[in-house]
């Protein structure tokens, strides 16, 4: 579904992604794990068109999206739940969700998707009129996920959804990711929480200083000595 072929991304002189390749199969959960500053966010931003690759190609459902404008990429079916949630703080929960459906015109389907988001996240329904900036961290994460779902994405990019959340909430978020996937949305999940990510993913990639150093099925990586040592704390 998504194919990244040898991309190189720079911040000025910093070579942040080095000849990076990655594949996401339709219907799967793929995780990209790595330490701070490895280039995970950079990878997702490049897929979404916020950053540009100097070489290589990114294709999505047979469209070359390497140089496509970000709004066109969203329109093709790729949504992102960005690192740090980035909800619109002085807009209400409802308005945040409406903004997620910005490119859609099918009012009825939008309304039914909104219902669905509220069924999945009853806490958001109770806080429909509340400003997003006043929500708790966990609620903001749910809103950020709900907002991305409102675009009806085929591929959802998630950047460290567990960041800064209490363990119980982390479990809940991962359950939600699994459920979203089981309803047909393909997921590319970036995580530092390697253990949780590997436990729900099908495929996995390990990134270190801008390069993919390991890849395989999540099971394989879970049992790999190198991964255990570096990312699973033993």
């Amino acid at each position: 579904m998504l194919n990244i072929q040898g991309i190189d991304v720079y911040y000025g002189a910093i070579h942040a992604l080095k000849n990076l390749s990655l594949d996401v199969e339709q219907g799967s959960i793929v995780t990209l794990i790595g330490a701070n500053g490895a280039g995970k966010t950079t990878t997702l931003k490049t897929i979404s068109g916020l950053l540009r690759s100097k070489s290589g190609a990114i294709t999505f459902k047979n469209h070359d999206i390497t140089r496509l404008a970000p709004e066109k990429i969203v329109a093709l079916g790729i949504s992102q739940v960005p690192e740090g949630r980035r909800v619109f703080s002085t807009m209400s929960v409802l308005e945040n969700l409406e903004t997620g459906a910005y490119l859609r015109r099918d009012k009825k389907a939008i309304a039914s998707d909104m219902e669905e988001v509220f069924t999945r996240f009853p806490r958001l329904l109770e806080r429909k009129k509340q400003l997003a900036g006043t929500l708790s961290g966990g609620e903001q994460q749910m809103l950020a996920i709900g907002r991305a779902l409102m675009a009806r994405p085929e591929l959802m990019l998630m950047d460290e959804p567990s960041m800064g959340l209490a363990p119980l909430l982390v479990k809940e978020i991962f359950e939600i990711i699994k459920e979203i996937n089981s309803r047909g949305t393909t997921i590319l999940l970036v995580e530092q929480n390697a253990h949780m990510a590997l436990s729900i993913a099908h495929q996995a990639y390990v990134i270190e200083t801008g390069e993919i150093v390991l890849s395989g099925s999540a099971k394989e990586l879970m049992n790999s000595e190198a991964v255990k040592k570096a990312y699973l704390g033993g």
Binding site: S48, P70, V74, F88, E95, T99, Y102, A151
Partner: protein
């Protein structure tokens, strides 16, 4: 008391005009963090478009307002595209200097084509009636200016709060990158913001023509600066702040001319600016964290 109320009425109509101009400053600042110094001059162009549609096309005030607003919406979009967009990623000082350049450009191109002389805004376009109510003199001009400004502000509030484009505007001003991830086009949203702000300025230009009776190519400078002070007073980037700030500046100015001397009224406006910057730079509505629109 009657004297005070009379100054209030005058202050409200002047303040309504300042508020309309201040809105454009604040919206543009809210979205691209630029003080658009050409904004007062866009108002001036609006006054001229209104003037010529009345004198040459014989249109009534409402049609003149409509033409002025449409023309300036287009002008605002064009200025942003030509002058500001190429500098979107440069330093803020570069954009600020460009804004001053755009301001001078509009002023002197107008002088070149239309001469620096002032023109008398046709009085017959808006025949004046004065009413005496409980000792107060209220003219139909005052009523027209205040009502029109309030209608436009309500309309703006509706656009910003309820429409898709308005929500996009708020989203971009809050978090540009997150807005892009929703599929919002930043360029289009910025153009839309300039169009709205410039249309309001154009309306203010026509209203100034009606209020003062004359227009000239440099008429945008002082009201522009005062409206800028109004926007800062209310809290730059905050829409209701610009409205309140505009009315406060108008009232303050008429009070100073009424009770003190009209010689001081411009000085007072800038005294206010210095005071806000010293006491509360975020303005009346500003919170301490930087929040916009």
């Amino acid at each position: 008391m009657v004297e005070f109320m009379q100054q209030m009425v005058n202050g409200l109509s002047l303040g309504a005009i300042y508020a309309l101009i201040a809105l454009g400053y604040t919206m543009v600042y809210g979205i691209i963090l630029l003080i658009n110094f050409a904004h007062g001059d866009i108002m001036m162009v609006g006054a001229y478009v209104g003037f010529f549609s009345i004198t040459m096309l014989g249109s009534n005030v409402f049609v003149a307002l409509l033409f002025a607003m449409l023309a300036c919406a287009a002008l605002g979009v064009l200025i942003e595209k030509i002058a500001y967009r190429p500098l979107r990623n440069s330093t803020r000082i570069a954009a600020l200097i460009t804004a001053i350049g755009a301001s001078l450009f509009l002023e002197y191109v107008t002088i070149f084509f239309l001469t620096p002389e002032q023109r008398v805004f046709p009085a017959e376009a808006f025949p004046m009636h004065q009413y005496q109510i409980m000792g107060l003199y209220i003219s139909n001009k005052d009523i027209f200016i205040i009502v029109l400004a309030v209608v436009l502000m309500v309309l703006l509030q509706y656009i910003v709060k309820r429409t898709r484009a308005g929500k996009a505007m708020r989203a971009v001003s809050l978090d540009q990158e997150a807005a892009v991830l929703m599929g919002i086009s930043v360029d289009k949203t910025i153009s839309f913001t300039f169009a709205l702000g410039s249309a309001l300025a154009a309306a203010a230009g026509v209203l100034i023509g009606i209020y003062y009776g004359t227009i000239n190519p440099l008429m945008g400078i002082i009201p522009g600066l005062k409206a800028f002070v109004a926007a800062v007073l209310g809290g730059i980037g905050i829409i209701p702040g610009a409205m309140v700030g505009g009315f406060l500046m108008g009232i303050l100015e008429t009070m100073v001319s009424g009770y003190g001397s009209s010689m001081y009224r411009d000085a007072v406006a800038f005294g206010v600016l210095i005071l806000i910057l010293l006491i509360k730079p975020t303005g009346i509505f500003g919170r301490n964290e930087s929040e916009k629109v």
